[in-house]
């Protein structure tokens, strides 16, 4: 083969190498779908919600899903997709989800993300089914009294323990029923927390 015969193959190899080099330098090998992050590695989560209770709930759920996924050993995306498809999940899955949410409360407490109960009181009272005199009376209480009587983490733990997760996930696409279930669980948790608090102050109070 003469030298002239080598020109075209040599130019071709150079063109191909040049093109693949430019593509690789611009991320050619990285143009693949994003991989799910390890749920056991804590991630920064910011809530899109504007109201503080909703924002608290949003962060709690996102932390909780991470925690549950870490416990089960899947990505949070796989867990969410599993929960989103069908309703016939095992009790063990619900137990892990509940445990993940409880872990989330601990983490939020550790990271000082839980606001004091007094910061949530006004918003909670606006939605509460109480007469306006009682609402006014509670609003008149000093913040330190409210904070002394109710601990946010305690209320959340109780609410999570009481929540019927199976029903909650079944109603995921019906916001009103979802809200009703969460309100009922939080109200019950506040009531239980107050009762326990009173019981610790006045152990022999009748009716407790």
């Amino acid at each position: 083969m003469n030298q002239r015969a080598l020109v075209l193959p040599a130019v071709s190899v150079a063109l191909v190498a040049g093109l693949l080099g430019v593509q690789t330098a611009n991320g050619g090998g990285d143009f693949v779908p994003a991989r799910a992050a390890d749920p056991c590695v804590p991630r920064v989560v910011t809530a899109a919600s504007t109201t503080s209770i909703e924002a608290l709930g949003e962060v709690l759920v996102l932390y909780g899903i991470d925690g549950a996924a870490c416990r089960i050993g899947v990505s949070r995306e796989q867990l969410v997709l599993t929960l989103g498809v069908g309703t016939d999940h095992t009790e063990a899955l619900y137990a892990e989800l509940r445990a993940g949410l409880l872990d989330a409360v601990e983490r939020m407490k550790r990271e000082n993300l839980l606001p004091p109960a007094s910061a949530l009181a006004d918003e909670a009272l606006a939605d509460a089914d109480l007469n306006r005199f009682l609402k006014a009376a509670i609003r008149a209480l000093p913040d330190r009294v409210v904070d002394a009587a109710l601990k946010t983490d305690d209320v959340l733990r109780r609410a999570i323990t009481d929540l019927d997760l199976r029903r909650l996930l079944d109603d995921l696409d019906q916001p009103n029923r979802l809200q009703q279930q969460i309100s009922a669980a939080v109200t019950q948790a506040v009531k239980d927390s107050l009762t326990d608090r009173l019981r610790s102050i006045v152990p022999d109070l009748p009716g407790l």
Partner: protein, 464 residues
């Protein structure tokens, strides 16, 4: 033959050759519209493409045998007429079965038209120029098929792809009948050229990926319109057209051209498997390499397989058979790979989409509504890349949230494009491997080295 008549007849016959070969891939961009309008299945739609190439591959050699034993003039004219009538039937087809049957008849007529036009072009010009026109028309037709089909589908309809072939044939049939191509029985019957035809099979299989998978990636994976895709793939015929003059300027010889062409096609296909984004600009350079490679290889290999081999028509039949067998091989080999990869890509794509929705700065209610709507779309479009926009359009959002939703939609589309591109990677790499295998097929083995060297010497010395 008078010069004036030859000036009109030769381009018409060359155009007919280009049209018949363009038809092997012309419906590629129209397949989604055919699928919708004729209410077929994906496998039936694939047969619209496979049937034509399969029948042409099978019929080419028998048609060439008949042509080499009979007067080629009427047979070529009949072949063109059958091709045109079957094209009209394709345009009128109202069911998938009728369309596939019409495509098969079209290919049968096309086989006689292709080999017949070879004999007529040689009769009208001379051995060297006739063969050169025939191969060049074939290369341009093959490369321009998807481009022409895409533009016609977008501008008019898929039926127009077939309708435009009828007037070409109406002119080509009388043109064919004006040429007297007496049957000249050859004193010797030579065996079909092995290495060039094997290389043509492998290269055609690789080029199927370039002409078929690129279009699918652009239209189905990246959701570009058929017109945009047609414009993008027009790089291939343009590059194929400029390759031979460039090669003549370098004067490296046929073996040098085919070796360079195989490297360019393999490299272009590998580059398509490796794009940095779904921007159309990243497909231009790889397609240009493929087009250059197509122009350098198919032309040279067809020459190598046919030059000074008699009966000419029979060897023409072998090259057509080899090329279309290669197309069928490419479709059969690559279709299951990319459809399986596309199915597998659903999982990472769905997970990436779920992650983005979870982290999106949208109200929880909106996230749930969006996730539910997107889930339905993903399920409905199983096996295909879905259009996510309607799910976003249904949402009632504040202005601030609309900005976030638009950003999320762009991010989700990016994930889908990434997943689709990844799903095509294996097929493009396999196709690149086929192009390299064609290069290996051309390396002379000790037994046939001497014969190839003789052929090469004749070609190098005689020019083309």
């Amino acid at each position: 033959m008078p010069t004036l008549a030859r000036r009109a007849v030769v381009p018409l016959l060359a155009f007919t050759v280009g049209t018949v070969l363009a038809d092997s891939a012309i419906v590629t961009l129209a397949l989604p519209e055919i699928l919708r309008e004729l209410d077929g299945t994906v496998s039936e739609v694939a047969w619209v493409l496979i049937a034509y190439n399969l029948v042409l591959a099978i019929a080419a050699v028998p048609a060439a045998w008949v042509l080499s034993h009979r007067n080629p003039t009427p047979l070529a004219a009949i072949g063109i007429a059958v091709f045109a009538l079957a094209s009209a039937a394709c345009a009128l087809a109202s069911t998938m079965e009728v369309l596939i049957a019409a495509r098969s008849i079209q290919a049968l007529g096309g086989a006689f038209a292709l080999v017949g036009c070879l004999e007529l072009l040689v009769a009208a010009l001379d051995e060297r120029r006739g063969l050169a026109r025939w191969t060049a028309a074939g290369v341009i037709g093959t490369a321009a098929g998807p481009f022409a089909g895409g533009l016609l589908t977008e501008a008019i309809s898929w039926q127009s792809i077939f309708v435009v072939q009828v007037p070409i044939a109406v002119l080509a049939v009388p043109a064919a009948l004006t040429i007297r191509a007496p049957r000249a029985p050859s004193p010797t019957r030579e065996r079909p050229a092995g290495a060039p035809n094997i290389a043509l099979i492998l290269l055609s299989a690789a080029l199927t990926a370039a002409l078929f998978l690129v279009v699918l990636l652009l239209v189905e994976g990246w959701r570009r319109s058929p017109a945009t895709a047609a414009l993008a793939v027009s790089v291939v015929p343009v590059a194929a057209f400029v390759a031979p003059p460039l090669a003549r300027f370098v004067r490296g010889g046929p073996r040098s051209e085919t070796a360079a062409g195989c490297v360019l096609i393999a490299g272009g296909l590998a580059a398509l498997a490796w794009p940095p984004s779904a921007h159309l600009g990243w497909t231009i350079a790889p397609q240009a390499l493929i087009g250059l490679g197509l122009g350098l290889t198919v032309d040279s290999l067809t020459f190598a397989a046919m030059r000074d081999r008699f009966p000419r028509a029979l060897h023409g039949g072998w090259t057509i058979g080899a090329r279309h067998a290669g197309v069928v091989l490419g479709l059969v080999l690559l279709t299951p790979v990319f459809t399986a990869d596309l199915r597998d890509a659903e999982v990472p794509a769905t997970e990436a989409i779920t992650g983005l929705i979870l982290d999106a700065p949208l109200q929880p209610d909106d996230k749930i509504a969006l996730a539910s709507s997107l889930g339905e779309r993903l399920q409905a479009e199983r096996g295909r890349v879905p259009d996510l926009h309607p799910a976003f359009a249904e949402l009632r959002l504040s202005d601030a949230e609309r900005v976030a939703a638009d950003r999320l939609e762009a991010a989700l589309n990016n994930q889908l494009e990434r997943a689709a591109t990844r799903a095509f990677r294996d097929s493009f790499l396999i196709a690149a491997g086929l192009a390299l295998a064609a290069l290996l097929a051309l390396i002379p083995l000790p037994r046939r080295r001497r014969a190839l060297e003789m052929t090469s010497l004749v070609q190098d010395g005689g020019g083309r």
